[in-house]
Structures are given as structure tokens and as C-alpha cells.
């Protein structure tokens, strides 16, 4: 099964995110970058399927040229092909992103001479969290998509996909070629090995220069939520605080 995984390069912040002075982006000057977590799991799932059933894993990203780092990382954990759709570095809105990705996918499929049987997106990106690019791409490609997937079993001409709901799963059986939005937890992604990392440097980076018109959602500015003054009541500095804690549990009625 040939699988395409679409990933996004996002900053790796700690407990506080700063915004650039112009409010247009996260101040990532000294933050590292990573692959958005849901997508990292999507990639791991694709690699596991390919390892088990054969086939190739292609990873596609739309982002600044620096996103090559995330593509190489993908290659280091088992992706076979990597494709970059370079942007000017600014954040593209979801419609624009979806148009460009769709074209890139169509181009890649034309070159392959066949459709990817499965295209995996992350359920939503860690940063902008628009919850829609995968759906838009699937629709443009005329393929089915289900989101919030935490289990994939490839079948013959279809995939069985488990969607997480409160307390369990809904089971979908989607005909291929299909698109799925994957959530973290579907697997525990591997780390690259040194040999994997070194091999990834040899992976050929394909570039698809694609532009698309801006959509109707426009970022005005980013800002941090107002700091809430800390009103933490310190109940103690040792285990003798247990009594005060249980008083509170009683008071709010959880100590039935």
C-alpha cells in the first residue's frame, strides 16, 4: 500500500509562547521545530503499515524551506520519499494550503501513475489548529475522509478506521483511495536511529513550486491570553496538608 502523509513543521515551545512584535507569528528564534504531534503519529502508522504490508511512504509538507528538517526527520524514521511545497515563510490560510497540497498530490500521483491508496493527515495542527485542511484536500480529490482516527487496519480495497469517541470507538470501513485524519495515541512513534538519520541525508528532496490564492480567513494578529494573576492557595509544604485537601474534596462534593 502506497501511503502519503502530510505533515506540518511547528515550533517546539515550553510553557510559554512568545509572539513576534508584529503579531504575525510565534517568536521561534531560539525554539526548536518539530513535526506536529498528530502527524508524527500518522507517519509512524504509515511506516508500520509499509513495514508490515509493503509499499512506499511519501511525506509531503507545505512550509518554509527550513521544513526540509521535518522531511529529513520523516526519512530518518522510515519515509521513502519526501516532497516540499515551499512557501514564502508566512502562514498560509487553510484554503490556500489545501489548494496547494491538492495540486502537489495530483502532481505526485501523476508522476507515480497511480493514486496514493491512503493519505494521512493529522487531525489538526498543533499551532493554528484549523481542523479542515485534510477535509478540504479529500473533497477536492473526491475521496472519503474521516477524522479523529486512532486505529487503522488496511483491507482489500478499503481500510478499517477507528474513530475515537468518548469511551470507545466508532468503526468505519472506508473504500480506498481514502484520506484519514489521525490522532496522537494511535501508536507511540519511534525515534530515529543514527543509521536512519544518516540514511535520511541521502533521501532526494523533491520540491513542488505551487502557489494558490489566499482564502477568506485572514490572520490579523496573535497575542497571548491575559495573564491570570496567580491566586494559588498554598495548603502546605508536607503531607500534613492532606487534611486540608480532604476538607476541600468534601466541600465540593466529590467525597461521596
Amino acid at each position: 500500500m502506497n501511503i502519503l502523509v502530510c505533515v506540518k513543521r511547528v515550533p517546539a515551545p515550553g510553557a510559554k509562547i512568545n509572539v513576534t512584535d508584529d503579531g504575525q507569528s510565534v517568536d521561534a528564534a531560539h525554539l526548536g521545530f518539530t513535526t506536529s504531534p498528530h502527524e508524527e503519529c500518522a507517519l509512524e502508522e504509515a511506516v508500520q503499515i509499509a513495514e508490515r504490508d509493503g509499499g512506499e511512504v511519501t511525506v509531503l509538507t507545505l512550509g518554509p524551506v527550513e521544513a526540509e528538517e521535518q522531511l529529513r526527520y520523516a526519512a530518518s524514521v522510515g519515509a521513502h520519499k519526501i516532497i516540499l511545497v515551499p512557501t514564502d515563510g508566512s502562514a498560509w490560510d487553510p484554503q490556500r494550503t489545501a489548494v496547494a497540497l491538492t495540486q502537489a498530490i495530483e502532481t505526485a500521483e501523476a508522476a507515480n501513475g497511480s493514486a496514493f491508496e491512503l493519505i494521512l493527515f493529522g487531525n489538526e495542527s498543533a499551532d493554528s489548529g484549523g481542523f479542515q485542511v485534510g477535509v478540504r484536500v479529500a473533497h477536492k480529490l473526491g475521496r472519503p475522509i474521516v477524522n479523529a482516527i486512532k486505529g487503522i487496519v488496511p483491507g482489500d480495497g478499503s481500510v478499517t478506521a477507528n474513530r475515537e469517541i468518548d469511551g470507545g470507538f466508532e468503526v468505519y470501513e472506508v473504500p480506498t483511495p481514502a484520506v484519514l485524519g489521525v490522532k496522537e495515541g494511535i501508536n507511540l512513534p519511534r525515534y530515529p536511529t543514527m543509521k536512519g538519520r544518516l540514511a535520511s541525508k541521502k533521501a532526494v528532496l523533491e520540491t513542488a513550486e505551487i502557489d494558490a490564492a489566499a482564502g477568506g480567513q485572514t490572520l490579523v494578529k496573535l497575542h497571548r491570553p491575559p495573564e491570570q494573576a496567580s491566586n494559588t492557595e498554598i495548603l502546605g509544604t508536607d503531607e500534613s496538608a492532606a487534611s486540608a485537601i480532604v476538607d476541600i474534596l468534601e466541600e465540593i462534593g466529590v467525597l461521596a
Partner: protein
């Protein structure tokens, strides 16, 4: 926090390994009323300690680093927070094998058990190593892995319990409060402003690791260090490691030629590198604890910089290739312009101290140094001159300089560094007005900190034939050396030599209190007639050497101090520290007002006599006298000061010339000397060959704070009546007599086991008994070579070094270990000179 203090005796900033150990040591030395503040959380505030690889290789060529490394390792051991894993430095090249022999020599010097291993022996200890890519290993069983975070916690808690230390985490310094001081150019620390409140303090210590310079800058001063990346990656798990069921079950391997190490960390292997390009950061680029994904000093890994190291690591240990990289960082550590720590009181802000640029491996020891320094006025555990923050000249404090030098030496962390190795970057910071002339003479320049000094002149190459000199057989011995040095030496003894001594540091003390103050600094009497001089030690309060220099009485209320370029910063800081605050003394640094030209040799009086009518005889210009004379030059008459003195053992003068007129004087002397065989002569003669023949001691080599003037052979028959720093200890040392004596040794045979002629390079080569045993005096001080060099007039290669007093007899034989081989030596002088012991040449 309502109980945040408003005042304290001491505020220590930074609770990494250094700050924690410092408060612990201060508490042990009786300090109380201390506050420790830390901007991050405890126990791991997010500085370099938190991600340190925590191992200690106790062997280092540098004495301070080696002894404090051992000392620190023992402190960790004493707290049971250390495991002796052993460690092996492996060589992939012949050059490295030679270096491992040098490591064996240093191990011998510092008394560290070590052995050389064959590749097969290495593999026995580290079964997963590829023994086909290595030529051998240097095994040190006492290499240890320590728990630096827990050690810090234990030391901090000890200070809390025994000395009432107050600790405030998550408290950031916003401002440093500094007061004016009566002494111009000096200020005094007053306290710190934090986000929790202001603390007024008598002492403030900056132990802020990579952030130290930023905090120093808040006080208007500098701690010249820069945060630099050291990459490391943790790969695993691997069965062979997991099965040890231990944090560390195999020796640490340093793959020296790839500048990498492999250190087991439980089931994983940590691969660390000093091989990648230097990656430096400004302190402001370091994220806060909140902003950082890991910790502030665990910056995002840049894998492109590590690929080469991965390939080499896999080559050495194939199993590493298939293990997962679970954690990889660009870890920050501190680099300084000269690769040594920054310890001591800031030279321009009283009671503001630096305990920075210290790594985990030497943290507890360095903390003890600073604690003792604060307590006793100078450390007792070791002479800290190479780590003294006041060693830096202003040119060494700029970011441009710090960055350039840090970039240059980062990749030498595991490098093979020759003891005479010269810097490539940031040259020409301080040059003589003679530079155009010395350039024309083909000077090869060495640096004395920021100063460029001609070390020899290629224009003297013609002398090689005259004296039958040639290069040395082994490249290492020949590196940073030229036989021209010996030629210049022999010519000086035969005719005369002229030396560019512009790098001399010249300080003037003037005013009604100048002589009394100078007296207070000096062991020997300074209050002598105008026109005389005093060669004298300056002692630490404990009676060890702080300085060794010359003081000239130029007028009733004018003392001029002449000292070497390596010590100018330290000496100036010492003066400023003790300057009277009543305004009775004015200090001026006159270094760039005068050029010193040395003129020595049997023909020196005749040459100088061509330029002046002045009486240059031993009566008209006696030894030790200072005379102002007029020299007739092609550019007219020039007034200069003649100081009849010699550091090379031949008669002559230091001539002090106004800066801009130095070329005229040099040119006139050159012309006058043509018929007298005068040649320019470099520092190779002045600083080594000439002085070693005469047994003249050098500060920082023979003279260190661990030794006193009695032992160095510099005690005068009488002690002056006036009070001076270290007087009490000096009197006690005279009473007790020397425990060790400075001796001159002649090398009797240079032939090594391969039949090559070898020449001992200075660098703490151990002096051992004929049976090969280390020699320690009753204070536990080890005998090592302090200076080594050829003495062409004497006709032998000489070494200086201390011997226990009962061994210090002329004619006694010993061995000196060099490159792990023993060379026979004989004591040829104790307190005196090997060459011309009667000083007849000097007095001629």
C-alpha cells in the same frame, strides 16, 4: 514572600554546581548571613549543571585543572555521589598515540593511576568497541561519574543547616547595586535587586554559568565568557548496556581523534561531541525556563552539525547505529577567551566575585578556591593565577574577542595542544611602536596575552651556520621553536643583543603615600634613595608568591613598577585592591607611554657609549641603578631612563624610551652596534634560554602561591622593619626553613627508546627518582619541571624545578619523565645559577 531578606553579608547568585558548592564551602569556613538566589527552580534550575555529562577525567596537562579535577572528584567521592567507572582515551592516529604518552606523563605528575592499553586490551574492557580502528588506549581507572545535582543539593542543605543559609529559587536578578569608591577607577558592590526584592550585601558572588557575563554587565564589569554549544545525543536502549543493570557499567570512552565521547547512561549511550562547528550564543538568546521546551541550556538540537560524529561513533561502536536517538540537545556550556575559568574578585568592583566558566568536573574544587580566596585573601588549595579573573586586559573582555577565541579553541577541547601553541585569531591587539622595524627583521611573534612579542628573528638565520645549530629531530620538540633562538643567545653572550620589551607593564605610584604603599606591597625594602631599584616578591597574606617584579625609585614620591605582560592585569588589580583610600597615592598605567628596549652582552656598554657621554661604568651606572641620560640619535637627542639590570645574565640595561621615539633609539643602537656584532634578540632568549642558565625565576612557573621566597631562594638576609602583606607568614617561613628548594637540573642524555634526541617541553614534566618514583615534599607538593629549555652557553639543556630540601644537592641525579620516557638529569645548581654563578659577566 514576606520573609525575603533586605540585607545579607553574602549573596551568591546561581545554584548550579558552583554556587551550591560555594555556599557549602563558605559555611565550612565559618561564613554566616548568606543568601543564595537562583532564577530557576530547584533542584535543577536549568543551567549547564542540569544537562552535564557528569564525568571526570582527572588527567589534564594544566596543573590547576588537573589538581582541582582530582580535588573535585574526591569531594564527590567523599559525599558518596560518585562512581569510579574508569575511562579510556582511545587513539586512532600515531600523533594521538604520542599524545597518550604525554597523558601518561601528566598522570605521573599528578599522581593519577593510568596505563596504556593495546587495542585488544581496550576491547577486553569495552567489548562492543571496534578495536580495528584504534591504535591503543590510555586507561585511567579513577575516571568517575558524579551526581552533580545531588551534590549541589547536599552542599546547599549543609549550608542551610550549619550556617543558616537562606535559599530563594525562582528569583531573578534585575539589577546590581554598585557604589562609588574613594579610589578612582574602583567601585564597590552594594547589593542586588531581584524580582522578589532588594538585598543589600557586603559581598556578591556571580556563579551564574552561561549567564555570568550578563550579570557582570549589570554591575558595569565583565566576566569574559560566552555560552557555547556542546552537542550530545542519547541513544538506546541497548541490551549490552541494559544488562549491566547500572547507571554506568562500562568505562567511558573518549574517541579523542574525533573529539567525541561515549558514556553509558543506564541502558543508553550518551554520545557527546566537541567536533562540530563552534556554535556560540549571546546570553540574551537563551530562552527562559518557561519558554524552553526542555531547559534553557538544552537548546534545540541541530542534527546537521552532528552527522559526522554519528558516522564516527558508529565506526567505533557499531551497535550505536541501530539504537534510537531518544534525546539530543545543543547543550550550553561556558567558554572563555583562554579556555580557563573566571575566578576571583572583579578587578574594578570591590567585593563582587566571579565563580564562573567552571564545569562540573572541577566545580567543587573551584568553589573551594573561591571560598578560600574570600576568606583568607588568597586561595590555599592551589595557586589560581591562570584562573584569576583579573588576568584579562580590556581588549580581552569584548564580545568580539571572547567569541573569536572561543571559536578558535572549542575544537581543541580534545585537541593535541602544544604547550607553546599560539593563537591564530585576534592577533595584533597590542603592538610596539617598533613593530615596523621588527617586521622588517622578520620577527616571529608570540603573544603575551594581548601583546605581540618578537620571539626570534628570521633575519638572524645566518647565525645558525656560525654557531653550527640545526633543527630538532622530532617535530613536536621543534614546534613553536627555532634554533635561531639559540643563535641569538650565543651572539648575545659573544657580542650583544637588543630586545624589544614593549610588552612590559609599567605602573606609576605617585603622591605622598606612594613609597609607604609600595613598601606595604613588597617583601623587600623599597624606601631607598632616588635612582635605585628593588627586585621583590609581593606575597599573598599566607606568604606565597602573588607577584615577582621590579620597583624603581624615580623620585621622592614616585615609584615605578615594572612587571611582565602575563601578570599585568593581576598586578594592577592587586595594587587597586590595596590602594590607600585617603588619596595619598595616585596610580597610573604608563605601559603605552614607554617602550622598553633591552641591551645586553659584553659589547653593550661600548654600543651604548657611542650614543651618550654619560658614565656607563659600574660606578656611573651601577647594577640596579636608574639614570636619566640623553642619547644622540639620527632624529636628535632623546632623553631616556637607563636601568642597569639583567634577566639574561649579561651586563646591560633596560632602556625606557618615550613611546614614539623608540624607533629612533632602536635605529641608533642598531647603527652603533654594527661593528660590535649587535643583533636583535627575541623573547626566546629573554624569557627562557637566558634566564634558565641564570636560574632566574618566573612568576607563574617557578613562583606560585604554594611556595615562599625562602623556598624559591629569593629570601634576603634580613627582613625590613616595615609592615607588608604576608609578613607574618614570611617570618614564619624563614623560621621554619625551606621544605623544598628550587633547583636547576641538567639533562644528561636526550636519547629516547627509539634512539631519537628528545627535548623536554615545559609543561609540568615530573621529576622522579632514579627508580621512577614521584617525589613529594612534606607538604605533599610534587616535583615537576617548571621551565625547560636549552642553555647553549652552559652547554646543556636545563630544567628548573623544586626538590624536597633533603634531596636538593648539587650532583644528585634524578630522572625527568617526558612523553612517558625517563631522561637522566643532574642537579647543577640550587639557589644559584648554573651558568656564571659568580655573576662576573653581569658585573663587567
Amino acid at each position: 514572600m514576606s520573609d525575603f531578606p533586605t540585607s545579607a553579608k553574602v549573596v551568591v547568585i546561581g545554584a548550579g554546581i558552583v554556587g551550591n558548592c560555594l555556599v557549602g564551602h563558605l559555611a565550612r569556613l565559618g561564613w554566616t548571613d548568606m543568601v543564595l538566589i537562583e532564577k530557576g527552580p530547584l533542584p535543577n534550575p536549568g543551567g549547564s549543571t542540569g544537562h552535564a555529562s557528569n564525568f571526570i577525567f582527572p588527567v589534564d596537562h594544566n596543573k590547576e585543572m588537573a589538581l582541582l579535577g582530582v580535588q573535585s572528584a574526591n569531594q564527590y567521592r567523599d559525599m558518596n555521589l560518585s562512581v569510579d567507572s574508569g575511562g579510556i582515551e582511545v587513539a586512532r592516529t600515531e600523533e594521538r598515540m604520542a599524545e597518550l604518552n604525554r597523558r601518561m606523563t601528566s598522570a605521573k605528575a599528578w599522581g593519577v593511576e593510568a596505563e596504556l592499553l593495546t587495542p585488544a586490551q581496550v576491547k577486553e574492557l569495552v567489548p562492543f568497541i571496534n578495536d580495528e580502528v584504534i591504535l591503543g588506549g590510555f586507561h585511567c581507572p579513577s575516571v568517575s561519574v558524579v551526581d552533580s545535582l545531588e551534590t549541589g543539593t547536599v552542599m546547599r542543605k549543609e549550608a542551610q543547616e550549619t550556617a543558616g543559609l537562606q535559599v530563594f529559587a525562582n528569583t531573578e536578578v534585575l539589577e546590581m547595586l554598585v557604589d562609588d569608591d574613594p579610589v578612582p577607577g574602583m567601585r564597590r558592590i552594594k547589593g542586588v535587586v531581584t524580582d522578589k526584592g532588594t538585598i543589600e550585601a557586603e559581598y556578591v558572588v556571580i556563579a551564574c554559568g552561561v549567564w555570568s557575563n550578563r550579570i557582570a554587565n549589570m554591575a558595569g564589569t565583565y566576566i569574559p565568557l560566552v555560552p557555547a554549544v556542546h552537542q550530545m545525543a542519547d541513544v538506546g536502549p541497548m541490551d549490552v548496556l541494559v544488562e549491566t543493570n547500572n547507571e554506568i557499567g562500562y568505562p567511558i570512552v573518549r574517541d579523542m581523534d574525533t573529539f567525541c565521547y561515549e558514556r553509558q547512561s543506564a541502558g543508553s549511550m550518551e554520545v557527546g561531541s566537541y567536533a562540530h562547528r563552534p556554535i556560540l550564543h549571546h546570553p540574551d538568546e537563551i530562552p527562559s525556563n518557561e519558554e524552553a521546551a526542555l531547559s534553557p541550556t538544552e537548546m534545540p538540537f541541530t542534527p546537521d552539525d552532528f552527522d559526522q560524529q554519528m558516522e564516527e561513533a558508529i565506526e567505533l561502536m557499531d551497535m550505536l547505529g541501530d539504537a534510537e536517538i531518544k534525546y539530543a540537545i545543543n547543550g550550553l556550556l561556558s567558554l572563555t577567551p583562554d579556555a580557563m575559568p573566571c575566578l576571583g574578585e572583579l578587578p574594578d568592583v570591590r567585593n563582587l566575585w566571579s565563580a564562573a566558566a567552571v564545569w562540573v568536573k572541577e566545580g567543587p574544587g573551584m568553589a573551594q578556591v573561591v571560598a578560600e580566596w574570600m576568606t583568607y585573601g588568597y586561595p590555599r588549595v592551589i595557586d589560581p593565577h591562570a584562573s584569576d579573573i583579573s588576568r584579562f586586559y580590556n581588549d580581552e573582555k569584548s564580545d568580539e574577542h571572547i567569541w573569536a577565541r572561543a571559536e578558535e579553541h572549542f575544537n581543541k577541547t580534545y585537541g593535541i595542544v602544544h604547550p607553546s601553541e599560539q593563537w591564530e585569531t585576534r592577533r595584533g591587539l597590542k603592538e610596539s611602536s617598533l613593530k615596523a622595524i621588527t617586521d622588517g627583521l622578520g620577527a616571529e611573534y608570540f603573544t603575551a596575552r594581548v601583546w605581540e612579542r618578537p620571539h626570534w628573528y628570521t633575519s638572524n638565520a645566518d647565525l645558525l651556520e656560525r654557531y653550527g645549530l640545526s633543527e630538532r629531530e622530532v617535530e613536536w620538540d621543534n614546534r613553536w621553536w627555532s634554533p635561531i633562538i639559540d643563535a641569538e643567545h650565543l651572539n648575545l653572550r659573544e657580542n650583544a643583543g637588543m630586545v624589544d620589551l614593549t610588552a612590559f607593564q609599567i605602573f606609576d605610584l605617585t603622591g605622598p603615600g606612594a613609597v609607604a604603599f609600595a613598601e606595604y606591597l613588597s617583601v623587600n625594602k623599597v624606601d631607598k634613595p632616588v635612582g635605585t631599584s628593588t627586585y621583590t616578591p609581593w606575597l599573598t597574606p599566607d606568604g606565597g608568591f602573588h607577584s615577582d617584579l621590579t620597583m624603581l625609585r624615580l623620585a621622592e614620591d614616585h615609584i615605578r613598577i615594572m612587571t611582565g605582560a602575563f601578570d599585568g592585569g593581576r598586578d594592577e588589580a592587586w595594587i587597586m585592591k590595596y590602594m590607600p583610600t585617603d588619596g595619598s597615592v595616585t596610580f597610573a598605567n604608563r605601559t603605552e607611554d614607554f617602550v622598553t628596549i633591552g641591551l645586553w652582552g659584553p659589547n653593550a656598554p661600548a654600543i651604548l657609549g657611542k650614543l651618550t657621554e654619560a658614565d656607563l661604568s659600574q660606578t656611573g651606572s651601577p647594577y640596579g641603578s636608574v639614570r636619566t641620560v640623553t642619547l644622540a640619535t639620527g632624529d636628535g637627542d632623546i632623553e631616556v631612563d637607563l636601568f642597569r639590570i639583567s634577566y639574561v645574565g649579561d651586563t646591560g640595561w633596560e632602556i625606557y624610551v618615550p613611546w614614539d621615539q623608540a624607533p629612533s633609539v632602536w635605529t641608533a643602537l642598531e647603527a652603533a652596534g654594527t661593528d660590535h656584532g649587535l643583533r636583535p634578540c627575541g623573547a626566546g632568549v629573554y624569557a627562557v634560554g637566558g634566564r634558565i642558565e641564570k636560574g632566574y625565576r618566573l612568576m607563574g612557573a617557578e613562583l606560585e602561591s604554594e611556595y615562599n621566597p625562602v623556598e624559591a631562594g629569593l629570601a634576603r638576609p634580613k627582613v625590613k622593619a616595615a609592615e607588608f602583606i604576608g609578613r607574618e607568614a614570611y617570618l614564619a617561613a624563614r623560621e621554619a626553613g625551606p621544605d623544598a628548594v628550587m633547583c636547576t637540573f641538567a639533562v644528561e642524555d636526550h636519547t629516547d627508546s627509539q634512539g631519537r634526541q628528545r627535548f623536554i617541553q615545559a609543561g609540568n614534566a615530573p621529576i622522579v627518582t632514579n627508580e621512577g618514583e614521584r617525589i613529594l615534599d612534606s607538604h605533599g607538593r610534587v616535583s615537576v619541571v617548571t621551565t625547560a629549555g636549552n642553555a647553549p652557553s652552559y652547554g646543556k639543556y636545563l630544567c628548573l624545578g623544586y626538590l624536597p630540601v633533603d634531596m636538593a644537592e648539587i650532583g644528585n641525579t634524578f630522572k625527568v619523565m617526558y612523553m612517558n620516557e625517563l631522561f637522566p638529569v643532574t642537579v647543577v645548581a640550587t639557589t644559584g645559577s648554573a651558568f656564571d654563578p659568580e655573576d662576573t659577566r653581569l658585573k663587567s
